[in-house]
């Protein structure tokens, strides 16, 4: 019976000679998982400081709506946090543009919602229904024309403006790529996060070469560090980057 002393057979009790070894293995396994959990948790990078600002309360503004390349409102009557003269990007709930915008292009509108803020990037999330977005009394006033800032070559990341503004943390980076593509496809403004500030701004609203939304081929380059060339123009206080998709390069 000597063999049985340390030979393990599943349906018999553990041989006494093996017990200390197995107990040590069990303890080591538990310790390994605890240490690994602590280690893996501690390697998580801090997301950028950004997010929903429910603490600001509901913001109601009046302004001129523009759908190209993505929904923005050029504020004519501001709120506490969104002053007149600003150009503010708009998103709806989830990964969508606000559903009511389609009929309101270039009209004077009243909009209300919650701010998502990251640094100098503000986005207004608007819920469904008239209460949150509707045509305002009167005609749209004439606004300053876009100011052309010439052709640029920028390095940075193509993001969806909503997640980048903190709807998700992190809302950038490669593991967020599929989500960014979905937001952009859903009509959420696409944003270029520039590695170096351009005219004081680190975020630019993105557009296709003709001023429409981002062309589909640009989706292959989202969420990665890229370089791209295009024309920059200023609309109100917002820079718009009309990219030339042929110049997109992964870096």
């Amino acid at each position: 019976m000597r063999a049985r002393d340390e030979f393990f057979i599943g349906f018999f009790p553990i041989p006494p000679g093996l017990r200390p070894f197995l107990a040590a293995i069990a303890a080591a396994l538990i310790l390994l998982f605890a240490v690994a959990g602590w280690f893996a948790a501690s390697t998580q990078a801090a997301p950028d400081e950004a997010g929903f600002r429910f603490d600001f309360g509901r913001q109601e503004v009046t302004g001129v709506l523009s759908l190209h390349p993505y929904p923005v409102i050029r504020v004519t009557e501001g709120s506490e946090r969104l002053a007149a003269g600003r150009t503010v990007m708009l998103s709806g709930g989830g990964k969508f543009a606000p559903p009511q915008v389609a009929a309101l292009d270039r009209r004077l509108v009243k909009a209300g919602g919650v701010i998502l803020r990251r640094g100098d990037l503000d986005m207004l999330q608007i819920g469904g229904g008239e209460r949150n977005l509707s045509a305002a009394e009167g005609d749209a006033p004439a606004l300053s024309p876009p100011e052309r800032l010439g052709r640029w070559r920028l390095e940075g990341e193509i993001c969806d403006g909503k997640c980048a503004a903190g709807a998700m943390r992190p809302g950038r980076g490669l593991s967020h790529k599929a989500c960014a593509n979905l937001c952009i496809t859903g009509g959420v403004p696409a944003v270029f996060v520039s590695a170096a500030p351009i005219e004081g701004a680190t975020f630019l609203l993105m557009a296709g070469p003709e001023g429409g939304p981002l062309p589909p081929e640009a989706l292959a380059f989202t969420a990665a560090y890229v370089s791209v060339e295009g024309e920059i123009e200023r609309i109100g206080d917002l820079l718009v980057f009309r990219i030339d998709p042929a110049t997109l390069r992964a870096l």
Binding site: R2, A3, R4, F7, F8, I9, G10, F11, F12, P13, I14, L18, F21, L22, A26, L29, I30, L32, F33, A34, A36, G37, W38, F39, A40, A41, S42, T43, Q44, A45, A46, P47, E49, A50, G51, G93, G94, K95, F96, G166, M168, R169, G173, L174, S175, H176, K177, A178, C179, N181, L182, T185, G186, G187, L219, A220, F221, A223, Y225, A250
Partner: protein
């Protein structure tokens, strides 16, 4: 063994094994999920579903790595064999943790989208032509599918339903699945962490798994394949009572030559259950007992004792010039062979 199938055969050891596992996994997740945010102290914390997805995903990777280490460890040091004996529970638990990871990701990134969720998962990123930005989700989905298939077919019912041969080939899926997980993590999560510590840990584990397999393989290969019909094994006194010497025969088969009560018998080294290495087992109560899950075979005819019905092939032995020799042509499973008498 095979006479009837009971969903899970519980005994004290299994309970303790599962308890240790559950403790380890629970501790990992608790530390990551509950202590993690405080530990990190981020001004803008990671969104909880994303944090949870990372906790469960990284835990599943660690579990897979440990599971894959058990096999080679048991070959290198028999004391690890008991861990092999319930690897199935470990595997099922891993599939569940991986599934939770998937659900956190799916119900966060792929809902409220312009595409239906499944379409979004499959088609929102199609940049298959580049490394940075590659749809790493595809690797994860393949691995999860493999884990779920393996978990679903892990019970012995499937083993006998599919035949051990097919079952075993199916369960080799764990290797491509593991490779896919390494790719999934490298192209995905590892890109979103601070510094290189996390990817380094992932690769260190993967290399350890590969290294252990290599070491176990080299140990086995050490017993060089012998050729010819009658193949020399060793001198009788080199085999301990109740133990075996394994020989590799032409064609890659292995036979285990056992000594029992001073006489010698040879049976196939591959257990009829899951190809466990019978030659690393012992003779217990006149039966060769498999080190993996304890299936038993009589030394002289390769048959499991009643009421069980498993059989393994047997081999003829002879003595030539003081050496035991084995006939490389296996007898059909269950063929009785007169044991070889030891000299003096």
């Amino acid at each position: 063994m095979s006479v009837s199938y009971i969903p899970v055969q519980w005994n004290g050891f299994k309970h303790r094994y599962n308890l240790a596992l559950a403790l380890a996994v629970g501790l990992y997740l608790w530390i990551f999920v509950e202590l993690g945010p405080a530990l990190l102290g981020h001004a803008s914390p990671i969104t909880p579903p994303i944090h949870n997805a990372r906790a469960f995903g990284s835990c599943a990777f660690l579990m897979m790595s440990v599971i894959l280490m058990i096999g080679p460890l048991a070959r290198l040091d028999g004391r690890f064999l008991p861990l092999l004996y319930n690897r199935r529970h470990f595997g099922v638990m891993t599939a569940l943790v991986a599934l939770s990871h998937f659900l956190f990701v799916f119900n966060w990134y792929f809902v409220f989208t312009p595409l239906p969720s499944w379409e979004a998962l499959l088609f929102s990123n199609t940049a298959y032509d580049r490394a940075l930005g590659f749809p790493f989700e595809a690797f994860g989905m393949f691995a999860l599918l493999a884990l779920l298939i393996l978990a679903a077919t892990s019970h012995d019912f499937w083993l006998s339903f599919l035949t051990p041969r097919i079952w075993k080939s199916l369960h080799y899926l764990i290797y491509p699945a593991y490779a896919a997980v390494v790719a999934h993590v490298t192209l995905g999560a590892a890109q979103g962490v601070r510094g290189l510590a996390f990817p380094a840990l992932v690769w260190a584990l993967a290399l350890l798994v590969a290294g252990l397999h290599l070491a176990a393989w080299r140990k086995e290969r050490g017993a060089a394949a012998a050729m010819g019909e009658w193949v020399p094994v060793c001198r009788p006194e080199e085999i301990e009572e109740g133990r075996a010497r394994v020989v590799r025969l032409a064609g890659g088969e292995r036979a285990a030559v056992f000594r029992h009560e001073g006489r010698f018998s040879a049976i196939s080294n591959a257990c009829a259950h899951q190809n466990g290495p019978l030659g690393e087992g012992r003779v217990v109560d006149g039966c060769v007992t498999c080190p993996w899950h304890g299936f038993q075979y009589r030394v002289d005819d390769g048959c499991s004792p009643a009421p069980f019905t498993e059989k393994v092939p047997t081999y003829r032995l002879r003595l030539r010039a003081g050496l035991i020799e084995i006939d490389a042509r296996a007898n059909p499973p269950g063929t009785p062979v007169q044991p070889l008498e030891a000299p003096r």
